[in-house]
Symmetry: C2
Subunit: 226 residues, 2 copies
Amino acid sequence: MHPYLNQISKINLFKSLSLDTIEQHIFKDSIIKSFEKGEVIKGRGDCLNHMIVLLFGKIQTEIVDFNGKIFVIEQIKAPFVPAIGFIFSKVSLPMDIIAVEKTTILFIKKEEIFSLLMKNKEFLEIFLENIGNKVNFLSNKLQINTLKTIREKIFYYLIQLYNQQMSDKIVLQNSLEELSQLFGIARPSLSRVFSDLEKEGIILKKKNEIKILNKDYISNLFENKK
Amino acid sequence: MHPYLNQISKINLFKSLSLDTIEQHIFKDSIIKSFEKGEVIKGRGDCLNHMIVLLFGKIQTEIVDFNGKIFVIEQIKAPFVPAIGFIFSKVSLPMDIIAVEKTTILFIKKEEIFSLLMKNKEFLEIFLENIGNKVNFLSNKLQINTLKTIREKIFYYLIQLYNQQMSDKIVLQNSLEELSQLFGIARPSLSRVFSDLEKEGIILKKKNEIKILNKDYISNLFENKK
């Protein structure tokens, strides 16, 4: 068994693939490479001919300004597939991808991905589901970004789930960690607002289930924004 | 020739398909339906079993709050494929899709899309390129959203292109219309700032080509933000 099989199967994108398929297709023609702290994994201006699979370690994306000053855009921990929007794009990478610590990357040829997508329907389905979820997450984050307070963000999110689930008992679909990423706020702040809302009798929260007790409070919250 | 062939071929996603393929696969098992103003095209809580192709007209997406109050999220004009993130997602639609005027929709079975993606490599490539571009556009917009002034937004965008193109002469990749969408500002405001920047000798703009004249101005602009 390939020593990294366990690690790659932790990534949602590859979960539908049998271990055999991963061994035969993903690892066969792929390159595994280690990078030391500070090394460039992919440089700006490059076109991606491979899917970059971050197996171990941590990377960051950086851009430089016209004077060569560096700005860090984001840091990403393994296991993850970064820059997924650029793999199939015709534009070149607008940033450097740099190892922040000792990092192991699996480079899978784009052609191998295409061939797997065309052969394996389950892989195609999971792949499109993953990119679709990414599009939804980003669109949603953009909408939530326009709201100022944490309370507005929380209720906008709950209203969406209510529209999706069509029930007064709303089942949260994300962990607090994921929600704090979606809202762009620290997790302790989010927890505090949730418990404030309970104390004020606006919601009732049991594990990941939420019941709305004061619907008018929420309507007024958004009413006053207009 | 199918009467809507011309309209569907205006959509990027379908540009790679031959007219024959569109006639045989896209139109064969698909449903074309017209909606009057105010009619629900797809309701919240539904799962999408079809790709929705907006051929003619205009739609809007809406959510309702816990008291049944309606909020409009966005309006979309034909031709377009809305809610693309939800087509392959397992979650149900968190909003209503409503016709704003007389609207014609082509519903293509998800299964037909899968089958075409697995048979036609060019379609697969264009399809993934389109979704990839969407992911890039949204990520980019999220980053640009965190910047306050139009000048910061413009230079952040130009710095990205500079990193991509690795040249001092930057070729704009978007129309002013697209840029104003990306920045979330009105087009006349954007034009005004571009001409101010020229008057102040910070940039030189010739059609879609930009030369940076005052690099320090830009470095200072971002420096002062920290």
